[in-house]
């Protein structure tokens, strides 16, 4: 059987001249081998035939087929010769295209990465997250993912199609983890309390421990690889004890599992998983209102296959109505629940509030980059079209000769298309190399490690090949038709008329290239301008001077009464050093959000007019530390000792405006109702930027609580930083010996808020630079080309006395005009697009004239620089050489 098929195969490919002989030899050997068994002989036969499958023994294929391979081969040969003859232009063409394609591949890979978020979960298409839209009088006031844990319980009880419900409480403050064996203690800021089926819903593989057992039980926790390494080194920590310290949440826990390193493409980024039961039991406030009061939880649900998700959402609405109906009615609020597929979370969570919703990507940015990628590729193709049509003159003779000996239109077109395919294919190969090298750099910019994964997907190859093919066709077809349309007589005769061919199109394309370049440079400029603006904005305090020390938590396990004494001790001892000016204990620090938000109103105010307020707790040293002052002040004592009840409140100017309290003086002594409690305003302070200037300044209510020390802010003189820090550390250790001393400067933390913008800016500028490089390559080649065309003219002008400057202007004038046109066209678009983009920011830089002057100036400079080398060389050349040639 094998033998028969193999023989047929041999007969098919083998040259008929040799077939008889070879087959005879094989048969003879086969017969001989039969002595050692049929199978052996057949196998040998097959191997021998495969060995015969070589070019020298093959019959000439396609000779009699319909495809004219001979013609194709001749086209290919001529194309290669032409490319080699014009090395300079070919190189520019290939490099330009390669960079363009490389950038495209890069962006494609980046987009694939962004789209790959949370695709790896088993049955991921059935996992949803619950979102809530709060609306008031039909107007949406908030949209977020933070819900109550009671909702989860009810959903699980009463909606059968919801198979799994996982609650996540991402604690918005840090706790201290202690491994007592080696006295390793640090504050951990990324601790999640989760339900015990967390790892059943989400597919995070375990390095140690088994999926069914971990997290089951009050004190069983799961570490990520990073944390296991930090506290236990390289050993398997399963079964070891880890103490978590932080007030009521303090306890000893058993490590039951260690996760493999978390994939980068998941929005669930945590360091430590702790049992949900524990926080529900120990944090009493969660029991209030039957678990329907505190919205600190995110709910993820695994749904049954056949479910209509919209109907399920309606069922959830009913549950909400059942539990909160009365309350919602008095507040005149409507809550709608939604299910967000887990695959959508990364890119489509813009505008959602909530701790887990924070570090998400943005579908807008992805679209921006897709468009940039496309532009860059188009620029590269335009280069090709421009150069090929410009070079038409050299090819005209060839076309003329071909035509006069009878070449048909179709044959000529195919010749030029082969050339285009060839250049595009070379460029594509180079592009892979470029992408391979640039990928780590791109990864660096976005802070993720990217791998060249797309090449493993067949769908990528299909689209890549079709784009390559289409691109070759599109960029080849115009030059092909232009070149092949020459009349043989004129092609063989004159020169001038042919250069004019396609001149207008070429000009149009150059204008388009520069138009895009102006847009990209202006975009880059605007992004950086906005970031610089935000960074240099007066925040209302000097963050460079403020050192943040994580507040003590282990000490909270002791008697709370003594805390005030310890705080005071720390304060006094620190301030003994001359560089330390003031220390304040606060519940939160700028850039890190608020501790509380909710409806705030004046007594008797209409429900419809109520506004949302935000609150933090500070001590009496707060204003001094942050160098703020009371605009008006009631009877707040300068120092309050050992108070655990918050008695005094002050607000910022924005709150005075928002809550309609009149002037700061009027506000003094007025009452506000905050979630049932009534407070009296005892002071008004000036506004400060608690968050980055991306966001509005929020109406803020400061409550004075001297013992709410999640953070200490130390205002210090920067004269001798190491010494000052050492001093503060000593004072800290004296008062809180069990707590780790961990610190950072506020500006580092604050500037982290700009990271996404910076990334966007860096990416934008990187891609713009590449786009400009490609455009300039094309420009350079075109100018070089027109210089060679005008070589005689230059020679004559020079002989007649033209200066080098004159000649350079003569050569570049044409292109500079195009540049000006491109700039004029781009400016309105920059204005519109820039305004649009700036709308993302509450505090925005001005769209002043520099935005319309500097980027075009940069481009003109680059363009002049590019062409001047070439024009200078041509203008400098000895005119004798130019005039001698004929």
């Amino acid at each position: 059987m094998i033998k028969k098929l193999t023989t047929q195969f041999l007969q098919w490919f083998c040259h008929p001249d040799f077939y008889d002989e070879i087959q005879g030899d094989l048969e003879e050997i086969f017969q001989r081998n039969l002595a050692q068994g049929n199978n052996y002989a057949q196998r040998k036969y097959l191997l021998q035939v495969l060995g015969l499958f070589r070019l020298s023994l093959m019959r000439p294929f396609f000779q009699s087929s319909l495809i004219n391979i001979g013609m194709f081969r001749s086209n290919l040969k001529i194309s290669i010769r032409i490319l080699l003859r014009q090395k300079f232009y070919s190189a520019i063409n290939v490099f330009g295209l390669a960079i363009g394609m490389g950038v495209c591949l890069l962006i494609y890979q980046y987009i694939q990465f962004e789209l790959s978020y949370d695709q790896f979960h088993k049955e991921g298409e059935l996992i949803y997250r619950i979102t809530q839209t709060v609306s008031k009088n039909g107007e949406v006031t908030a949209k977020g993912i933070d819900v109550t844990h009671g909702l989860a319980t009810s959903i699980k009880e009463s909606i059968p199609e919801v198979k799994e419900v996982v609650r996540i409480n991402p604690l918005n403050f840090g706790l201290i983890a202690i491994n007592e064996e080696n006295n390793e203690r640090h504050q951990e800021d990324n601790i999640w309390y989760v339900d015990d089926n967390f790892l059943e819903l989400f597919s995070f593989p375990l390095k140690f421990g088994s999926k069914e057992l971990v997290l089951k039980g009050m004190h069983n926790i799961v570490l990520t690889e990073k944390l296991a390494q930090k506290y236990f080194g390289n050993i398997n920590p399963v079964g070891k004890e880890l103490r978590i310290s932080g007030g009521v949440l303090t306890s000893n826990f058993i490590v039951t599992g260690v996760l493999e390193k978390l994939p980068e493409n998941t929005h669930l980024q945590f360091d430590l998983l702790m049992p949900m039961q524990f926080v529900l039991k120990h944090w009493r406030i969660y029991e209030r209102g039957g678990g329907w009061e505190y919205e600190d939880f995110a709910i993820y649900a695994g749904i049954d296959k056949t479910t209509d998700i919209k109907e399920t959402a309606l069922k959830v609405d009913k549950i909400t109505q059942l539990h909160l109906g009365e309350e919602l009615k008095t507040l005149n609020i409507k809550i709608e629940n939604g299910f967000q597929p887990i695959e959508d979370i990364h890119l489509k969570s813009a505008g959602l509030l909530g701790e887990i919703a924070k570090n998400n990507g943005n579908i807008k940015n992805v679209t921006y980059f897709a468009i940039i990628g496309l532009f860059i590729l188009v620029i590269a193709w335009i280069n090709y079209v421009n150069l090929s049509t410009a070079r038409a003159m050299h090819r005209a003779k060839e076309v003329g000769v071909r035509k006069s000996i009878g070449a048909q239109h179709f044959q000529l077109v195919s010749q030029f298309l082969v050339e285009s395919v060839l250049i595009n294919s070379f460029a594509a190969i180079l592009a892979f190399g470029i992408t391979y090298f640039l990928l780590p750099i791109l990864g660096n910019i976005i802070g993720k490690s990217l791998y060249f994964t797309i090449i493993q997907e067949p769908s990528f190859w299909i689209s890549f090949m079709s784009i390559l093919f289409l691109g070759s066709l599109l960029s080849g077809i115009y030059p092909a038709f232009v070149l092949s349309s020459f009349k043989p007589i004129s092609a063989l005769k004159s020169v001038k008329s042919r250069y004019k061919n396609g001149l207008n199109l070429r000009k149009g394309l150059i204008v388009f290239q520069f138009f895009i370049s102006v847009l990209l440079i202006s975009g880059t400029y605007l992004v950086y301008k906005q970031i610089t603006y935000m960074k240099s904005k007066e925040l209302g305090f000097e963050m460079e001077k403020i050192l943040v020390v994580n507040g003590p938590l282990v000490v909270l396990e002791e008697n709370r009464e003594s805390l005030a004494i310890l705080y005071q001790k720390f304060r006094t001892e620190s301030q003994q050093h001359h560089t330390v000016k003031a220390i304040s204990a606060t519940s939160n620090i700028p850039s890190n959000g608020y501790n509380w938000s909710g409806s705030v109103w004046k007594p008797g105010q209409l429900k419809e007019e109520r506004e949302i307020g935000f609150g933090v707790f500070v001590d009496t040293a707060f204003l001094n530390t942050y160098e703020m002052e009371f605009l008006t002040k009631g009877n707040i004592p300068n120092v309050i000792h050992s108070s655990s009840e918050v008695e005094y409140y002050f607000v910022n100017e924005e709150a005075v405006r928002k809550f309609n309290l009149g002037s700061p003086e009027d506000a003094l002594g007025q009452k506000l109702i905050i979630g049932g409690d009534t407070i009296t305003i005892e002071g008004v302070v000036n506004n400060m930027h608690w968050s980055s200037p991306k966001e509005e300044i929020k109406p803020t209510i400061y409550g004075i609580d001297n013992l709410y020390g999640h953070y200490f802010s130390v205002n210090m003189n920067l004269a001798n930083i190491p010494e000052s820090i050492a001093h503060v550390e000593k004072a800290f250790k004296n008062s809180f010996p069990e707590d780790p001393f961990e610190y950072y400067f506020l500006d580092d933390d604050f500037n982290n808020q700009y990271q996404a913008d910076l990334q966007f800016g860096n990416l934008f500028s990187a891609f713009s630079i590449l786009a400009i490089v490609i455009a300039c390559l094309g420009l350079f080649a075109l100018v070089s080309y027109s210089a060679t065309l005008k070589i005689k003219e230059i020679g004559i002008r020079k002989v007649l006395g033209a200066s080098i400057g004159n000649l350079m202007i003569l050569l570049s004038r044409e292109y500079l005009m195009l540049l000006v046109i491109a700039i004029l066209l781009a400016i309105p678009l920059v204005a519109i697009g820039g305004n649009n983009w700036l709308d993302n920011y509450a505090f925005k830089t001005s769209m002043s004239s520099d935005l319309f002057l500097i980027p075009p100036f940069v481009l003109v400079f680059i363009a002049v620089f590019t062409v001047s080398y070439r024009t200078y060389k041509s203008a400098k050349a000895n005119p004798v050489n130019a005039l001698k040639k004929e």
Partner: protein, 112 residues
């Protein structure tokens, strides 16, 4: 001097064709090489070497008789041409010359 390009494997094939004289066809050549040079020869390598040398003019061939053992396919016998002889001669001369040029001392090994 005219040079005759001749690969190492080609040389062995050419010599073997000479050795077998009137009896040099595919399988016989293969067997002879395997026996004398102690190396495995695939039909593919052999055939392409034969075709190549025929093209170069070192070999000529004629179709021989068919028999049942070969499934009715004829044998093809190969003969060395004058060109082939020149090529072999040249290759041999080069080697002899090189051998002679080696100083005695270079090859004096104590093999005991």
């Amino acid at each position: 001097m005219k040079t005759y390009p001749l690969g190492e494997f080609e040389e062995i094939v050419l010599l073997t064709v000479g050795v077998l004289y009137n009896d040099a066809y595919g399988v016989a050549i293969k067997d002879a090489i395997e026996e004398n040079a102690h190396r495995k020869v695939s039909v593919g390598a052999l055939q392409s070497a034969l075709q190549r040398m025929e093209k170069k003019g070192y070999l000529e061939s004629k179709t021989g008789e068919a028999n049942a053992q070969r499934g009715g396919k004829p044998k093809r016998y190969y003969f060395i041409t004058a060109y082939g002889k020149q090529a072999l001669q040249q290759s041999r001369d080069i080697r002899t010359k090189l051998w002679d040029a080696i100083p005695k001392l270079a090859l004096e090994f104590n093999l005991s």
